[in-house]
């Protein structure tokens, strides 16, 4: 087994050497949206042709790699500084795990192969009044014949303007308790009444979008799971953010992220050296936590707070590390005004990565929410009034 893994590692390494565009970071710095999408789709196709784009999917749909192999794959991609799959992230993780867990055969046949051909998905969960308190969402869907008519507003739909399809939560029973009246839909973004407006974020990008839904008709066949059972279905979507996605991010932070920090630092300064060693310790701990979580998910032994512990630790470590990079970088670090869009949060621009790190501590359950989950589900402490 170990020998097989060593062979696999060598194969991935050789593939990386041949296929990762040598100058992609420079070439992707400050590019327009069109070029970002072109590059991301081309890189996805390249990874897919090697069998590396959706290794976590079941074999029948084009995946089937063992977890141990996936760990090796993400380690090697990170070590060789491969571009990150930013655009397809929701498609290959959230959309796929939802369809696999709760979709119909028809829905899977319609979408899983399409995703491999480049179909892009966006998540339509949050709303202006439903952020941390997602279950209070107000977008409504009412059944009319063979369709649902949907109206409302979604927020923080990452990649919304490039999306072909949307994972949508809407309220189908306004009288039921909050979580019991929500249904889960697959929405074709070309449906009349769907309007996408980009929101500029703190670092000047506009990949977050608002999605306005004005009497949008969704065929009843696009309901996922039972009517009013959307909250349970959504758990499989959110579950996709756990495990290997975090392992990939931790590996990337431990490779390019830490390597550049070391390069940027005056190592003869004992205070700086001490701080670097501290970061190395923490990254090593994080990588271990991620591997344990992946194994736990596989063996069914993961604890109820494991995902929250990893998400909280990764996001806050990322914030502290980029903050330190920004401080050490001094004034010259402030003159880097653009970063390679396909890099993620180890772009080489400390300031942009630092400000961008709030994209990890706020969405997907803020740090405050994660701490509450860890204390309540992990430690069994009494619950806060009216908090999930």
């Amino acid at each position: 087994m170990t020998a097989d893994l060593d062979d696999f590692r060598a194969t991935v390494r050789a593939w990386c050497a041949e296929h990762i565009p040598a100058d992609w970071r420079a070439a992707q710095t400050g590019v327009d949206d069109e070029e970002f999408v072109r590059f991301q789709k081309a890189w996805f196709a390249e990874l897919h042709s090697a069998g590396y784009a959706v290794p976590h999917w079941p074999r029948e749909w084009g995946g089937g790699m063992s977890v141990a192999e996936q760990v090796v794959l993400y380690q090697e991609l990170a070590a060789r500084d491969a571009p990150r799959l930013v655009l397809a992230f929701v498609s290959i993780h959230h959309a796929a795990s939802t369809l696999l867990a709760a979709g119909t055969d028809e829905q899977r046949r319609r979408h899983l192969p399409a995703i491999l051909d480049g179909e892009i998905w966006v998540q339509g969960f949050s709303e202006p009044e439903a952020g941390s308190d997602l279950a209070s969402l107000r977008t409504t869907a009412r059944r009319v014949g063979d369709s649902y008519i949907v109206s409302g507003q979604k927020l923080w739909a990452s990649g919304g303007k490039h999306a072909d399809w949307c994972l949508l939560l809407a309220r189908t029973d306004p009288d039921a308790p909050k979580r019991k009246g929500i249904s889960y839909f697959l929405l074709d973004m070309t449906t009349p009444g769907v309007e996408v407006r980009p929101i500029r974020n703190a670092i000047g990008d506009s990949h977050f979008c608002e999605v306005f839904l004005n009497d949008v008709s969704i065929p009843a066949a696009n309901l996922v799971g039972a009517e009013n059972a959307g909250w349970q279905v959504a758990q499989s979507t959110l579950g996709a953010e756990r495990g290997l996605t975090m392992l990939e991010l931790a590996e990337r932070l431990g490779n390019a992220g830490f390597r550049w920090l070391v390069q940027a630092c005056p190592l003869d300064d004992p205070v700086v050296a001490d701080q670097l060693a501290q970061f190395e310790i923490e990254i090593t701990g994080l990588r271990g936590l991620c591997r344990k979580m992946v194994e736990g998910n596989e063996a069914g032994t993961a604890g109820p707070a494991d995902a929250s512990i990893v998400k909280l630790y990764y996001s806050e470590l990322l914030q502290r590390l980029t903050d330190f990079g920004a401080e050490i970088g001094g004034l010259p670090a402030h003159t880097v005004l653009a970063k390679p869009m396909s890099s993620g949060w180890e772009s080489g621009s400390w300031l942009l990565d630092f400000i961008g790190s709030w994209e990890w501590t706020i969405p997907g359950g803020s740090s405050e929410i994660q701490r509450t989950i860890i204390a309540e589900r992990g430690l069994g402490l009494p619950r806060e009034p009216s908090v999930a």
């Binding site: 009044e129 974020n201 000047g204 004034l331 003159t335 009216s386």
Partner: protein
């Protein structure tokens, strides 16, 4: 003893707050007309003849508003540099011209790669050994992520014909100029921290999730409390540093290093916490929190990093 000016400071603060709240970009004539440029210029040259303590009040308000203007480079540093010179016709005329708004001067002191407000200045004085000179210079803008500041690289193209000499020990004069710059930036960070705390507290009272204002959750409440504690310490350290610089105390450098290191580090944490507690809205461009976070991060690196200032303090233990 400083308390006799409390009322004056309150009034200055309130007027400045109102004026700066109107528009993020404030042009030079507005700063001159408000009387802020000439605050430290002696009355005989058309100024108000007050001290750095009053300038510090304005610096704090600049931070609170995250105001984009040339006050730091062209008032705080320029007037400070001129006042440190031996009286001369050239110097006196410059002081009078600055108080009247006839010219905008920028002062280049190290690091010359990042000189505030040099771009578009009418005249640029370069701090050199023993004094201040006005050589022909090339000014190359250095755009930074913080869009509220204008920094530029200043390179001298020729030798200056005349050097205006500092009064007293030139080494001390240059050091004091750096201290003045550092404490001005610390004031800015203090003001912006207070603005971020105020905005966060206001938001936590009105934003509701789970059927109650988010400010009623201890996670939010405690974070706001921590911001206040940290800012309270900043205010003590900054006030002490302002007083030391205003009174030209020989050991002002200690108070300045403490204030610059603490207030500028704390401001990054406070602005970051503000972004966090505003949730998704805080991460939007439109909310403007990022403006404060970027300014806080730039302030931290301007005129000595926290580590630089701490290193300086630690020298005294040897």
């Amino acid at each position: 003893m400083a308390h006799e000016f409390d009322e004056f400071h309150d009034e200055l603060r309130s007027v400045a707050g109102d004026l700066l709240a109107k528009d993020r970009n404030v042009d030079w004539p507005t700063l001159v007309d408000a009387g802020w440029v000439g605050l430290e210029v002696p009355e005989q040259f058309g100024g108000a003849g007050v001290t750095f303590a009053e300038v510090a009040v304005i610096c704090e308000e600049m931070g609170r508003a995250a105001s984009a203007n040339s006050y730091l480079g062209s008032a705080v540093l320029a007037i400070g540099a001129l006042k440190a010179l031996q009286p001369s016709g050239t110097r006196d005329q410059l002081l009078a011209d600055m108080a009247s708004g006839a010219v905008r001067v920028a002062v280049a002191l190290e690091p010359f790669e990042f000189v505030p407000d040099a771009e578009g200045a009418d005249r640029i004085l370069v701090v050199a050994d023993g004094g201040v000179a006005e050589p022909a210079v090339t000014v190359t803008p250095q755009p930074v992520l913080d869009e509220t500041r204008r920094l530029a690289t200043v390179t001298a193209d020729s030798e200056a014909s005349e050097v205006l000499r500092f009064e007293g020990d030139p080494g001390v004069a240059v050091r004091r100029l750096h201290e003045r710059a550092a404490v001005a930036v610390a004031c800015d960070s203090l003001g912006l921290s207070e603005a971020m705390l105020a905005a966060t507290v206001a938001y936590a009272k009105v934003r509701s999730q789970f059927g109650r204002p988010i400010g009623s959750f201890q996670a939010v409440k405690h974070a706001c409390a921590d911001m206040l504690v940290s800012i309270s310490v900043s205010r003590q350290l900054v006030s002490a540093a302002v007083e030391a610089v205003a009174e030209d105390r020989p050991d002002a450098g200690v108070a300045v290093a403490m204030a610059k290191s603490h207030a500028c580090s704390a401001a990054v944490d406070v602005a970051g916490k503000a972004m966090q507690l505003h949730g998704g809205i805080g991460y939007t461009w439109e909310s403007g929190i990022h403006v404060y976070l970027k300014r806080a991060a730039l302030n931290r690196s301007l005129f000595g990093s926290p580590a630089d200032h701490r290193r300086q303090l630690a020298q005294r233990y040897l």
